[in-house]
């Protein structure tokens, strides 16, 4: 039986943060969509004394356009909404594709982007997509708001840059550029976490890559991203040689584990192939349409 003694339902982010700060450390947890936390409650993996439900915090809901043309995805936005938002096009399509690959339609109707990234499972779909898109994470805490680049938000296995009594409030995206975003994953069964995933965001100008973000999921404590690999792709046309080299660099830098889904050695072998495949598909698509 659960020892849960309080279920708070604040209406504002500030109130949620105050409730977190007034709680008992790890025994006070935020409840977003419940897709992970309630499953862990059922399995006896967590035993919170207090939950702070974010269901009534209006500010956290939905996707808005920012004054500069960028997008703000509220932390409580469901995967289903993100997967269906046509503003996530061009370089930002990577996020939409990743959202559409999470679990199954019913879980996508429950799970939220804030909940997913706060849990920070490195085999989940959003982390590499946010890193590839070079998104920023907006965080609220007792000291107010701050922003952390997604590339610094994921710090270790199930660990993020969130400090004590801080919470994710939104994902911030710079205005989309012409180009392409893609997300592919290798999995045992549809809807499972990734064995290896590849997230790609490419800005395309005058027939060449103006900016690239490439990240690999499922192969270490955090999304795997190398400035050097992105740099290899920039200014070129995503040619086969650059793609091979980028894949080799990422495979060499990967730190995968043997787990129930695959061995570490298998993952290292698969990374370059998935990277080459993603880049070849992007090259074809961009040469056809851009």
């Amino acid at each position: 039986m659960s020892a849960l003694a309080r279920l708070h339902r604040p209406a504002t982010v500030e109130e949620a943060v105050r409730l977190l700060a007034g709680g008992d450390g790890e025994r006070t947890r935020l409840l977003a969509g419940g897709a992970t936390l309630v499953a862990m409650l059922n399995a006896g993996l967590v035993d919170p004394a207090e939950l702070v439900s974010l269901a009534a915090v209006d500010e956290l809901r939905g996707i808005g356009t920012l004054p500069d043309g960028g997008l703000r995805i509220g932390a409580m936005t469901r995967h289903r909404e993100t997967a269906a938002d046509v503003r996530l096009a061009g370089t930002l399509a990577v996020l939409r594709e990743a959202a559409a690959r999470i679990a199954n339609p019913v879980v996508r109707n429950m799970g939220t982007i804030g909940g997913s990234i706060s849990f920070a499972d490195p085999a989940a779909d959003y982390p590499p997509a946010l890193v590839a898109a070079d998104a920023a994470v907006e965080i609220a805490g007792p000291q107010g708001r701050r922003r952390v680049p997604a590339r610094e938000f994921f710090v270790d296995w199930y660990a993020t840059a969130l400090g004590p009594n801080e919470m994710v409030t939104a994902i911030l995206l710079a205005p989309r550029a012409p180009g392409l975003g893609s997300y592919d994953k290798l999995y045992r069964v549809a809807g499972d976490y990734a064995i290896v995933s590849v997230a790609l965001s490419v800005a395309w100008r005058d027939g060449a890559c103006a900016r690239a973000g490439l990240a690999v999921g499922g192969c270490g404590p955090r999304p795997l991203h190398l400035d050097e690999a992105d740099e290899l792709l920039r200014a070129g046309r995503l040619g086969a040689q650059a793609a091979r080299r980028a894949g080799e660099l990422l495979a060499a830098a990967a730190d995968p584990l043997d787990d129930v889904r695959a061995s570490a050695a298998y993952r290292r072998r698969v990374i370059p192939r998935m990277v080459e495949r993603a880049l070849a598909a992007a090259r074809d698509e961009l040469s056809r349409t851009a």
């Binding site: 039986m1 849960l4 279920l7 409840l31 419940g34 897709a35 499953a39 059922n42 199954n104 019913v106």
Partner: protein
């Protein structure tokens, strides 16, 4: 520790006043307090889909939803099946899509919500729509046939 708190739930068009511990899931309350055993407890982890019910018309896992988070939401279980869900029940029977029956309530309610959004799905769209519902008899083919049949006959 598990002190019960009063809770008013709208289920299948009726208001129920009951008491539930804060950590009780909607599934626990439906089955144990309201004796609505159509929603099944399979994995209790959100994976199998057997507990799927509708909340404000959208499919949710009752096992991943805390009961106290459902105040003010309209819950529909298989016992309250009407309209599309009822047409689906009939199509399941006619097509032989019911084997042991454990997955059927979740399948039917998930499909009902899917048909609401996509009234004329392809077989692939049905498979994708039901990809989060497991049938351990592995009678998927007839389940897909049943959903297509219900889509053809249309909602009442």
């Amino acid at each position: 520790m598990s002190t019960p708190y009063p809770l008013a739930l709208q289920v299948n068009g009726a208001e129920h006043r009951l008491e539930a511990a804060l950590g009780d899931t909607l599934l626990t309350v439906l089955r144990d307090a309201l004796a609505l055993t159509g929603a099944k407890r399979g994995c209790n982890q959100g994976v199998c889909g057997a507990c799927t019910v509708l909340a404000d018309g959208e499919p949710v896992r009752a096992c991943l939803t805390l009961a106290h988070e459902c105040a003010g939401r309209e819950i529909v279980t298989i016992e309250g099946a009407a309209g599309r869900a009822q047409a689906l029940q009939e199509a399941f029977v006619e097509t032989g899509a019911v084997q042991c029956g454990f997955c059927s309530p979740g399948m039917i309610l998930t499909a009902a919500a899917m048909l609401e959004r996509t009234p004329r799905p392809s077989a692939d769209e049905v498979r994708a729509g039901l990809s989060g519902n497991l049938c351990r008899c592995s009678g998927y083919r007839k389940i897909v046939d049943a959903v297509l049949r219900a889509a053809e006959t249309g909602a009442p």
